[in-house]
Amino acid sequence: MNLDALKDILNLVREHELAEFEMEHDGLKVRIRKAGREYVVTQAAPAAAPAPLASVASLAAAAPAVAAPPPPAVDAGVSLAVIKAPIVGTLYRSAEPGSKPFVEVGSIVKKGQVLCIIEAMKLMNEIECECDGEIVAAYVDNGQPVQFGDRLFAVKLS
């Protein structure tokens, strides 16, 4: 990630008047919080590489990068909501292979609208949006596994 990319993100954050913005992609993690004036850019360790001799203390720090406040599947920021996986399984962005995704970044969504499907034990579980707004981020690609609590989408509340 270069400085320009970071500037662009910061501009977007200002433009959209976001209180909080978080993005993770290819081991890079960006977290921006406006209220607390907290700007964080960390190079996250690749998920699959354990660090057997890192300290117990640093273990806590190296905990899953998605470490997030617990249960409610929707995290109400000042103006941003993050939709999290309520179950473990495989995520599908569209109803059938090859068909159009349920939503994409920029889609305007309504409460109750299906955002994606998580397959668990051969069952297709539709994940619905719990608020009205605009999709500003989609964290998980089609066909990828998700864990409980993983971030799926960010929605700018309208």
Binding site: L59, I87, V88
Partner: protein, 458 residues
């Protein structure tokens, strides 16, 4: 052999299973609730999956979450540990349906032995000594009165689906019977969704003796000797040992052979424990079968040199048992103290931050634990934080080692049961191996409270 095993558990037993898998070169998947994300089992597994929030029902007890975790990680087997789903025939069936090997007995065996009345009948048929009682559930008051006349008093009413003292009532005379049958049925209905109860002769102050068995899918079954677990409080074992000082070699052989026959009769495979009561006259009575790994398996590992978890994995993968009965030698004596995060006097749980943790080494000491300095003991799960196991050439040496180990153990920030363990280890009756399931009562803050549910109707 399996490529990847998912461990459907947490705490010390999850780490114990990771150790076995690493020794066998098998990859591991840890599952964890949000409360456990910084746990060592998550750190030392090759992969990990968050399966739900802190509440067990939504994480460690959630069959869909665990099966999904196995599917997204490509695990080809699941080790359930103890507790949680380890004795769920339903979970074992789902695993089977999903082509994931459940490391434990076949679902139908779990189901048979999980039903106390059916298990009793099967054991009786296989020649295992059982307590005189109704051969199956009683339909109600009238049948109970009829059966009780034959049995005599005291007797005990037990829920068919029972566990943990719920649905249990001790009855000392005919007058108390009708009321207690009703209460027990109501309690059983409330606790297990099944009101069926049966009657059995009640043994006063018995010893708790259990036999460890291992079976493979080729018809081989061996026993790994007995454990004595009489030091318990409300059915929670506190100190276990192997061998039992109460058994002669002849009794050990005879009981072992009986259990092996019975296990074979029900086509038992994998690890299991047959629990017995031993009364004052030296008679054994079948209690139940635990169709899983036991918390106290390390004492058996110490005296036999056999790694029970590795053996479980081997036989689940279709291999033969690595030992025959004739190869199994018992050597020395082992004790286990379950160190719980709880007040040693009042038994109230004591979760929180462990600020200092150190356990001494030296010969004959094994410590199975998941805690460390600066680690938080979660309030969501059971209070076991460490199993301290000591081995000696004889019982006295094992006790002396346990005492010095506990005395030199440092656990700060939370309260633990160690002071209680030390009291027990210094008790002259314990030292002389004069124990039974009522032994712990003398350490209770309030004796009537200490007797628990069983005492209420006594």
């Amino acid at each position: 052999m399996f490529n990847k095993i998912l461990i459907a558990n947490r705490g010390e037993i999850a780490l114990r299973i990771i150790c076995a898998c690493r020794e066998m070169g098998i990859k591991t998947v840890a599952v964890y609730s949000q409360a456990d994300e910084h746990s060592l089992h998550v750190r030392f597994a090759d992969e990990d999956v968050c399966i739900g929030p802190a509440r067990s029902a939504d994480s460690y007890l959630s069959v869909p979450a665990i099966i999904s975790a196995a599917e997204i990680t490509g695990a080809d087997a699941i080790h359930p540990g103890y507790g949680f789903l380890s004795e769920s025939a339903y979970f074992a069936e789902v695993c089977e349906a999903c082509h994931i090997k459940f490391i434990g007995p076949d679902p139908n065996v779990i189901r048979l032995l999980g039903d106390k009345a059916r298990a009793r009948r099967a054991m009786k048929k296989a020649g295992v000594p059982i307590l005189p009682g109704s051969d199956g559930p009683v339909s109600g008051e009238e049948e109970a009165i009829k059966v009780a006349k034959e049995l005599g008093y005291p007797l005990i009413i037990k829920a068919v689906a029972g566990g943990g003292g719920r649905g249990m009532r001790i009855v000392r005379n005919a007058e108390e019977l009708p009321k207690n049958v009703k209460t027990a049925m109501r309690e059983a209905e409330a606790a297990f969704g099944l009101g069926d109860v049966y009657l059995e002769r009640y043994v006063e102050a018995p010893r708790h003796i259990e036999i460890q068995v291992m079976g493979d899918h080729h018809g081989n079954v061996v026993h790994l000797g007995e454990r004595e677990c009489s030091v318990q409080r409300r059915h929670q074992k506190l100190i276990e040992e192997a061998p039992s000082a109460a058994l002669t070699d002849k009794q050990r052989k005879k009981l072992g052979a009986t259990v092996v026959e019975a296990a074979r009769a029900v086509q038992y495979s994998n690890a299991g424990t047959f629990e017995f009561l031993l009364d004052a006259t030296g008679s054994f009575y079948f209690l139940e079968v635990n169709t899983r790994l036991q918390v106290e398996h390390p004492v058996t590992e110490f005296v036999t040199g056999i790694d029970i978890v590795k053996e479980q994995i081997r036989v689940a993968a279709g291999q033969r048992l690595s030992v025959r009965q004739g190869d199994i030698e018992f050597r020395g004596h082992a004790l286990e103290c379950r160190v719980n995060a709880e007040d040693p006097v009042t038994f109230t749980p004591s979760p929180g931050l462990i600020t200092a943790y150190s356990v001494p080494g030296g010969p004959g000491v094994r410590v199975d634990s998941f805690v460390h300095s600066d680690c938080t003991v979660s309030p969501y799960y059971d209070s076991l934080i460490a199993k301290i196991i000591t081995y000696g050439r004889d019982r006295n040496e094992a006790i002396a080692r346990m005492k010095r180990t506990l005395e030199m153990t440092v656990i700060e920030g939370i309260k633990t049961s160690i002071p209680l363990h030390l009291k027990i280890l210094n008790d002259p009756d314990f030292v002389a191996a004069r124990v039974n399931t009522s032994f712990m009562e003398r350490f209770m803050p309030d004796k009537t409270a200490g007797k628990g549910k069983l005492a209420e109707s006594a």
